[in-house]
């Protein structure tokens, strides 16, 4: 399985980070860490330009995080028309690591509050596609 099954619409098929999708299938959301300098990356990055080196390891993202910013999209771009309204968000998951995702539709829009506790959870989308979303922690 390659990266083309990631998300509602994927624009990338080949990447050194394709194992990210395999981890999603196993129920894990993973970031990476440079083995040489220890820098943590999310989204995952298989290369560290500071070293510069490509010796990285996968590290599971554990929560909880907190909500920093969000917006409910009412007008989705091509490919996302039927999804709207949906809420995109950035959450902070410790040591300055930020994650961009959607907030689960199980959380009512009026319940969404800045600073609320979140966890990041792998999900299955229609058509055997995989993604992750924020749920209440």
């Amino acid at each position: 399985m390659g990266f083309e099954t990631f998300g509602k619409v994927s624009f990338t098929s080949e990447t050194k980070a394709a194992a990210f999708v395999d981890y999603l299938a196993q129920g894990k959301v993973m970031g990476t860490r440079c083995k040489a300098c220890g820098t943590a990356y999310f989204p995952p990055k298989m290369d560290c330009p500071s070293c510069p080196d490509s010796e990285t390891e996968w590290v599971e993202i554990t929560g909880p995080g907190k909500l920093i910013a969000y917006s409910t999209v009412h007008y989705g771009p091509a490919g996302f028309e039927d999804d709207a309204p949906y809420t995109i968000a950035v959450g902070e998951f410790g040591n300055g690591l930020h994650i961009f995702s959607r907030i689960s539709k199980d959380i009512k829009v009026e319940e969404i509050k800045p600073g609320m506790k979140l966890k990041v959870v792998p999900i299955k989308l229609t058509g055997d596609r995989l993604s992750y979303e924020f749920q209440k922690a």
Binding site: P43, S71, Y75, A78, F80, V90, G96, H98
Partner: protein, 383 residues
């Protein structure tokens, strides 16, 4: 710093649907820029064409525009940094002249947004985000800025009414600008009741896609003094970037690329925010103008909205901003926008902005942003 000057500025009308080709749009801008100059197209020894290519049908448009304006065989370059393409083009023009390689450079920006449906444009704008990690979630340009608006409101108490006041101000000037797409005043009520696009932003908080072109003629000091009655000097330039990804941003209440670019431009020009007489800022959304007030140092962080509450950014206020209607009224033909902002400031500094002239304007500033704060350019001009 009297090394490089702007001698000519022009733009086509910005419209929802121009009904003409990109070459003809560029000609309109070129014609206005050359008006009154003791220069012909034969004197232009390099051209820089600027657009965002994902919206274009023409591949490598610099060759086409250079041919149509009869600028061949002078070299033609192509520059893009999405919405800030034409001020990036200006930075390159400055460098070409300062290096001595060229003496007169035309910076031509264009975009014909009507060639795509609005949803297809939105899809391309979404791909202006990180296509691997963020576009698959359905991020759009409005929702990127909407997250800044939400975070700013949560942190500083900025309100939707304050955002709406930016549109009301800019529409009041757009109504007077014969080249603007929207030439109508709007009420606070109309802004607040417009359809939601990406909360908290509504339809009237957003600028519209448009067709249009702009042109800036840049020249070395010796040429500028000869060919132009009132050369406008490039006193300061700043350019910076921030991450493509929203998750990479350290702050969601400020655009660091704008702050960095502003610091460089102020330093180079030897001026401070309070020395600026008139400014054009990149108000692709109402929140963008509030962020600009703060990032440029016109207001302290979190206090930007007060400037518009107190009408300090109106033409007779402390720091007039977007008194040509801004992107919110003019519309946003991506590659042409920075050039149009430059045109407004040059006209202000020459005292030619009859629709809304700031009295005795001597120092002006342009703030032009690409993407959701990925690229930031700040230009300071002096009469």
């Amino acid at each position: 710093m009297d090394d490089v000057a702007i001698v000519g500025v022009g733009q086509s009308a910005f419209t929802r649907k121009s009904g003409v080709s990109i070459r003809e749009l560029c000609f309109d801008a070129f014609k206005e820029a050359m008006t009154g100059l003791d220069l012909t197209n034969k004197d232009i020894d390099a051209s820089i064409t600027c657009s965002a290519p994902e919206y274009d049908k023409q591949r490598t448009p610099s060759g086409l525009i250079s041919e149509y304006l009869e600028l061949t065989p002078s070299p033609a370059f192509y520059i893009e940094s999405v919405c800030s393409s034409s001020t990036t083009g200006l930075r390159v023009a400055y460098s070409l002249i300062k290096s001595g390689l060229h003496r007169v450079v035309a910076v031509i920006g264009f975009q014909k947004m009507s060639e795509l449906s609005s949803r297809d444009s939105a899809e391309r704008m979404g791909r202006g985000a990180d296509i691997m990690w963020e576009a698959p979630f359905g991020i759009s340009m409005p929702s990127g800025y909407a997250m800044f608006a939400q975070a700013h409101m949560a942190q500083f108490g900025t309100t939707v009414e304050q955002l709406a006041r930016v549109r009301v101000k800019n529409a009041s000037y757009g109504a007077k600008n014969p080249k603007a797409t929207y030439r109508k005043e709007v009420t606070l009520e109309e802004v607040l009741t417009s359809a939601p696009v990406a909360t908290p932003l509504k339809m009237f908080d957003a600028c519209a896609n448009a067709d249009g072109a702009s042109c800036i003629i840049v020249a070395s000091a010796d040429v500028a003094k000869k060919v132009s009655k009132i050369p406008i000097w490039i006193a300061g330039l700043g350019a910076a970037t921030d991450t493509m990804s929203m998750s990479g941003r350290k702050s969601l209440t400020s655009l660091s690329c704008a702050k960095d670019a502003a610091a460089q431009a102020y330093k180079m020009a030897g001026v401070k925010p309070q020395d600026i007489d008139v400014a054009e800022v990149h108000d692709c959304f109402t929140i963008s103008e509030i962020l600009a007030y703060e990032d440029l140092g016109f207001a302290k962080p979190g206090e930007g909205a007060r400037l518009v509450d107190e009408k300090q950014t109106y033409v007779d206020g402390k720091i007039p901003v977007n008194v040509d209607g801004g992107l919110l009224s003019k519309g946003h033909p991506v590659g042409a926008t920075g050039g149009s902002q430059m045109r407004t400031i040059v006209r202000q500094l020459r005292g030619e902005a009859t629709e809304a002239q700031v009295k005795n304007a001597e120092i002006g500033l342009v703030h032009n942003i690409g993407g959701v704060g990925q690229y930031g350019n700040v230009v300071i001009l002096r009469r």
